[in-house]
């Protein structure tokens, strides 16, 4: 029998959860006490208890988060979608979030599908595209089912250039489209001629030039760039200005003399990236996808490997429940709006960009991004509070992503669905807002909380796997 030496030999230090009376009487004796602001879980209490009784969850979570943190995402190439996605036909369109049908698709999702059909030459005009999509002429499949992620609508069609991110510490690979910029762009559901023209320029010039640059100079260490950017005021989701600047420095020399392309094309590529503060968002997302995929498939683990929205549903996947999606209606965004747009113009939450929050960036790194504190009540303290609250529901502090304002503490990384359900503390997400009418484009940006139902359903399903 082990003795209880550290109980009887040391001055007791007590933490409490429950009635204040017990904590009060400890203080009455002159001892300090740390009190939990405890609330009963809103649901799934029996599932939590059976997971705890099963006993495998802590070790499973340790394994899963270790895998998430071990990846070293390297941007290695830019290729064409149809060449990298196995089984992709001319009519396969990847999209953001959990699985979706045209019938249930939101305005921006429909707009992006229409735009991609026009871009691929599958329809003559928007009405024709909508009719064909409604008739099932395109096959929709979530990006997440293909090792890929896409911001907002996330529509990825066969001719689009995709960034290839490989794991420098393993053999995982992830993909994302290239970022088009803000405003009237496909991912926000716009499909005007200028949108299609830009997409064509991206597959004819941007993709090939960037691919050549990367093959010439070698892989770019994305984790290193993101880590630096957090110390320069980025959150990796709603602010990517610093990381985009760093990226341009990385490719600068190779863009000047490493790409076999006419000068005007190389200049256009530079100007395009320079003019788009969110160019790196997609690559930060692909880096995140590499980590989250590495963490998937650990039995009994409650680690969240995917949070993603398709404009209709918000979906979550857990490491221990395999390919299952747990969905709830996509919530509205608490946003700030461009120009004359208001929340009445906004589509519900959409996009795979919540992969950033899934790996300790975005809303979870808000304390690193004082420039965008306008989203959180306008004070730097509000941003810090937001990040601080996320430590309660995460499994680790990121070794590379650090927050200067918190004395370089690592960002809260790896959401534990069990802790979300237990505490009711919801993942805080920074996001853009798409116009709800197809073709509108971006209308604002703001904050959203992941719906608790996804986590409750996930924990109930995880408990079923251990019973």
């Amino acid at each position: 029998m082990t003795n209880l030496s550290n109980l009887l030999d040391t001055d007791p230090v007590v933490a409490t959860a429950g009635t204040d009376m017990l904590a009060d009487s400890i203080e009455q004796q002159g001892a300090a006490v740390s009190r939990a602001d405890w609330q009963p879980p809103r649901a799934a209490a029996p599932a939590l208890a059976s997971l705890v009784a099963d006993g495998r969850m802590p070790e499973a979570n340790a394994t899963a988060i270790e895998r998430m943190l071990a990846v070293r995402p390297q941007l290695v190439d830019v290729q064409v979608a149809r060449d990298v996605f196995a089984g992709m036909t001319d009519r396969t369109f990847l999209h953001a979030g959990p699985p979706l049908t045209w019938e249930r698709a939101s305005g921006p999702m429909r707009g992006a599908i229409i735009g991609a059909m026009l871009y691929e030459g599958l329809a003559n005009d928007p009405d024709d595209a909508a009719a064909k999509a409604a008739a099932g002429e395109v096959e929709l499949s979530p990006c997440h089912h293909h090792g890929a992620v896409g911001p907002m609508a996330g529509v990825t069609s066969p001719s689009m250039p995709v960034a290839v991110v490989a794991d420098g510490a393993g053999d995982g690979i992830s993909y994302s489209t290239l970022n088009e910029g803000l405003g009237k762009v496909l991912r926000y559901g716009a499909f005007a001629p200028e949108v299609i023209e830009r997409l064509q320029w991206m597959d004819q010039v941007l993709g090939p030039v960037l691919g050549a640059v990367l093959r010439h100079r070698g892989p770019i260490d994305l984790q290193s760039l993101i880590a630096q950017a957090l110390q320069m005021g980025d959150d990796g989701h709603n602010r990517n200005r610093a990381v985009t600047s760093l990226f341009l420095r990385e490719i600068g020399a190779a863009l000047v003399d490493g790409a076999d392309a006419p000068t005007d094309q190389r200049l256009d590529v530079f100007t395009f990236i320079d003019g788009n503060d969110h160019f790196m968002l997609n690559l930060v997302m692909a880096a995140g996808k590499l980590g989250s995929d590495a963490a998937a498939g650990v039995p009994a683990s409650s680690l969240v490997t995917v949070m993603a929205r398709n404009g209709t549903d918000f979906g979550v996947r857990l490491s221990g429940t395999g390919d299952q999606w747990f969905t709830a209606p996509a919530p509205p965004v608490d946003g700030l709006y461009l120009g004359a747009f208001t929340e009445a113009d906004a589509s519900p939450d959409i996009g795979d960009s919540t992969i950033t929050e899934t790996v300790g960036l975005g809303g979870f790194a808000m304390a690193a991004a004082p420039a965008i504190v306008g989203f959180v009540g306008g004070t730097a303290a509000g941003a810090v509070r937001r990040t601080q609250a996320m430590y309660e529901i995460t499994l680790a502090e990121h070794h590379a992503y650090q927050i200067p304002m918190l004395e370089f503490r690592g960002t809260p990384t790896g959401i534990d669905a069990a802790r979300v359900v237990r505490t009711g503390v919801l993942p805080q997400i920074n996001t853009g807002v798409a116009g709800k009418v197809p073709g509108t484009g971006m209308v604002g940006a703001g904050l959203v909380e992941a719906p608790i139902e996804c986590f409750v359903d996930g924990i109930n399903a995880l408990a079923a796997t251990v019973e």
Binding site: L4, D9, D11, P40, A53, L336, A340, G374, A380
Partner: protein, 476 residues
Amino acid sequence: MISRVEIQPGRYHDSVRLMQASKALQGVTGVADALVAMATELNLSLLADMGFDTDAASGAGPNDLLLAVRAETEDAITEARVALDSALTHRPASSGGLDVPPPKTAGSAGDVNGANIVLLSVPGEHAFVEAMEALETGRHVMIFSDNVPVAQEIVLKTYGAEHGLLVMGPDCGTAIVNGLGLGFANAMQPGPVGMVGASGTGIQQMCCLLDDAGAGVRHALGTGSHDLSEEVGAISTLQALAALDQDPATEVIVVISKPPAAPVAAKVRAAAAECSKPVVVTFMGENTLEEGAGEVLAHLGMDQPAYGSWPADQDDHRPGLLRGLFSGGTLRDEARFVASPQLGEIGKKEDDPGHTFVDYGDDEYTQGRAHPMIDQTVRIDRLIEAAADESVGVILMDVVLGYGANADPAPELAPEIMRATDAGVAVVVSLCGTRGDPQGRDAQARVLNEAGASVWLSNAAATREAVRLVTTRIST
């Protein structure tokens, strides 16, 4: 409708602040449309889409601030400009430091202060998850909560035993660890006695007696009311016993419980016999706490004193039955054990015939209110009823002092005790408290005594007095 487009060159603001400014402008009465943005290509095209004249903005670039307002009057435009300046210069007051949100779980709370003990009083159905987290992070746990399934208790205690961690509870009301009282605990001088108790008020009564005799207690480890059940098998009791045996500050160990199942009792006695230190085993129903305290004192070379009492002459009380109004379950059980040889079977429920000793700390009486050690309403009510009931001749009640208990119980009881004694009912109080208790033991005793009650520190002695009173005035 008036439209106005302005360019403010070189005035840079980030897009988030500009969206906030746009929002502020749209809130101005009379403003129909507004755009505040840096004059990027995108925003200039947005300007055109909104139907503004773009000529005024020609030549503007991404480092210039673009302001476009459409309003009903010139005044509204002026007001919009003021609102814009305010939105772009307004700095919300900082909340000061980098405040941390409060921890949400006991484990997180423990991370804040490096706790080695987690004390849980969350509803029983949620205690398991919190307790397991505490154990997994290397902390001992005291579970005040009741209604935790025994299967969960076994998981917790087995894990604890494997990792050298003590699980006190569930349903553990009292503990003292290195002099710090947890839950309902009396203030004790640290000393050579170490306790292991499956019963909260049992520990408290033992503390009360030892304190009155001048013996100190450093540790009183509660184990919870189910620990000595056959299913749990005394896991925590055996752990605590072994730890106290190894604790250099402990000289004598006392184990306190209601009588456990025979195999468990045998296991505990065997473990006690293995100890290098004297172990006094007090299973109520076999002996009293008073007898147990006497044995402990004997091991310390101390005499058992006449425990403190504040007598009252109530020998001419009216004849009638004995009503026991208890807040401590163990005190009630000990009183039954002491009284039944002379009084026969004593009812445990209010409507049992004959003499009754009721535990008002039982779930039945605590629905929606605090424990009677804190909230005396129900017992005061029953005191009034008993005084009015001509069939009642003697009232026996406990008053428990210490941390966690009612801050000043005697003055709440005194008026009704006085009314009862005036009506001819004898009132005997078992006062469970120590000299250091925050309520002031002797002051409480005097208030009760002045109200007409006789007051005893020993629950057994109080019971004997009540039995003496009730048996010397048999109605004819």
